[in-house]
Amino acid sequence: MSDERTLDLLETKIEELKQLNAMDGIDLSGEITKLEKKLVELRRKLYSNLSDWERVKIARNPKRPYALDYIKLMFDGFYEIHGDRMIGDDRALLTGLAQLDGRTVMLVAQQKGRTTEENKERYFGMTRPQGYRKAVRAMKLAERFSFPVVTLIDTPGAYPGVESEASNIGGAIAESLLAMSQLRTPIVSVVIGEGGSGGALAIGLADRVLMLENAVYSVITPEGAAAILWKEKDRSQEAAAALQLTAEHLLQLGLIDGVIPEPLGGAHKDFAMTVAALKPSVVGLLDELRSLGIDELLDARFRRYRAVGSFRELGTSHEASSSDEKVSSENEADAAIISNDSPDA
């Protein structure tokens, strides 16, 4: 089956034919039209049937629009605010005021880097404690002025390591969740790329959660799951499927509220089209949430999270295991000694 690169090549060829057509007066327009139709058809075929793993790759594509691209195209006049007022400023998580459809919102957005230099500054999009604490500060500021909060999620995960642990990264994530659960202003979250575990959820406790069509959101990366559960890293594709981390799966599972369609081939094929699909959804949700009384909003948010989970009455729908096989508790335990945060290498 044709892959994206082949189709990109075909697209280039069509462009070349068009130039030829224009330059030499040779009429190739019929052939070009046919080729273009073919290209669309092939693209549709390719992308209508993406595997979960292929979506993971699209979600991580560095050409994909990042937070700053949405800020430029979807919002007006981003006024960035910096610093946690305690130890530092995290460039992997941006906060600031912006206008959306003529009204002020507080943006809390994870930002990856494209160049090596930028990735160094932005820690490859991995948020540090000072980032989460800045986010909480920004959200409480928003609350004071009844500005809704819009969060854009795009991270491989929270930044691990000694520096992070020494500033209590786990506590910072927990405090952000607590703050968001009580924040007296509407919150809409959008997973625009990679929703990497606790590092993503930390800014994702919201009244409404959207995902772009090719974004992923998962308790662990497929690579991490493969390494821990399959004990083989090259089982990542299988793990990706098992984790049901795509927008479509998560919508079916009832864990998110909507999926924003992307242009054929992915959001990076057409930023403007992506924004055109996302913007009215966010505006619409904010309007809807603004129309609720604040206590009603908080009640609904509470009920949303209170209800999340999948379990059943003890012993109801499957036979008690009669297996005599003893498993090593160590082995089993091992399967769960994972961090919620294992970005891919």
Binding site: Y159, P160, G161, V162, E165, A166, S167, N168, I169, G170, G171, I173, A174, L177, L178, Q182, S197, G198, L201, S218, V219, I220, G224, A225, L229, E238, A239, A242, L243, L250, L253, L255, R301, F302, Y305, R306, V308, G309, S310, F311, R312, E313, L314, G315, H318, S321, S323, E325, V327, S329, E332, A333, A335, A336, I337, I338, S339, N340, D341, A345
Partner: protein
């Protein structure tokens, strides 16, 4: 003799199986030690001081007034919302863990008293798929906090967990949000939440409910942190100091209130609860 008054959730209790030996070999120091002495010594090696894992029953017995524990865990068990299969099926892992521990999932919640003070106590069992937090654990923790609100008494959580349960995917991750949201209600009700971190308290459990205690007490020897050594070496290939994620590291960096010897934990709670008598 079980400390659970209500045994309906206990299918098989491996620990109740007759000991096939009176002696055990300590993994830490290699000494052969008398099992009964280990048990009498709070499951600490009498030879080298190494802490061994406690079962939920042992932990509860160690903390609460004799015969005071009333298991109020909701009668639920893990569903398998993703029909998850890796090398083995999630369904199978659950059944085996249930068989191993005699518990429906990695946590038990109950009412109890500690030196006559009523509390709601939830205790994780690391043997049950690494004490991982899936939908059942999230629900039981919330149930515990809600019972504490009804009873107007403190809530105590003893964590022993590697983090979120992978096999439930995003359902597990969202338990972090769920427990945080209910924890806010406990705070609004003006009731204390005492979080006890034992070996290990990490990943999604450390990054949510366990870190939200009014008071956070680490059991000596606890491993406390977000990202495990493997993840760090995998991701950023950083050299880690010897004290990384030890109780001492967490204490030094202000993440926890106190570090307490296992044998003193009951007394610790008793004295702490004394300050909250007027609250309830």
């Amino acid at each position: 003799m079980s400390i659970f008054k209500d045994k309906q959730y206990l299918r098989v209790n491996v620990d109740k199986a007759p000991d096939d030996s009176l002696w055990m070999k300590c993994k830490a120091c290699g000494e052969l030690v008398f099992k009964r002495r280990v048990r009498e010594n709070s499951n600490i090696c009498p030879s080298c001081g190494e802490y061994f894992f406690l079962t939920v029953e042992e932990r509860i017995e160690m903390l609460v007034d004799a015969d005071s524990f009333d298991n109020i865990s909701k009668s639920i068990e893990a569903d398998d919302p993703l029909h998850f299969v890796d090398r083995t099926s999630y369904q199978d892992r659950i059944e085996k863990a249930q068989g191993l521990t005699g518990l429906p999932d990695a946590i038990v919640v109950g009412r109890a008293t500690i030196t006559q003070s009523p509390v709601v106590l939830a205790v994780m069992d690391f043997r049950f798929i690494g004490g991982s937090m899936g939908s059942v654990m999230g629900e039981q923790i919330c149930h515990g906090m809600e019972t504490a609100i009804e009873d107007r008494c403190p809530f105590i959580l003893v964590s022993s967990s590697g983090g979120a349960r992978l096999q439930e995917g995003l359902f597990s991750l969202l338990q972090m949000a769920k427990t945080a949201a209910v924890r806010a209600k406990l705070a609004e009700a003006g009731l204390p939440f005492i979080s006890i971190m034992t070996y290990p308290t990490s990943g999604g459990v450390q990054a949510s409910i366990a870190s939200l205690g009014d008071i956070i007490i680490a059991e000596r020897g606890a491993m406390i942190g977000f990202a495990g050594r493997r993840v760090i070496q995998f991701t950023i290939a950083q050299e880690l100091p010897a004290d990384y994620q030890t109780d001492a590291f967490a204490f030094e960096h202000g993440a926890i209130d106190r570090v307490v010897q296992r044998a003193n934990m009951r007394e610790e709670l008793s004295s702490l609860l004394g300050f909250f008598v007027e609250v309830a």
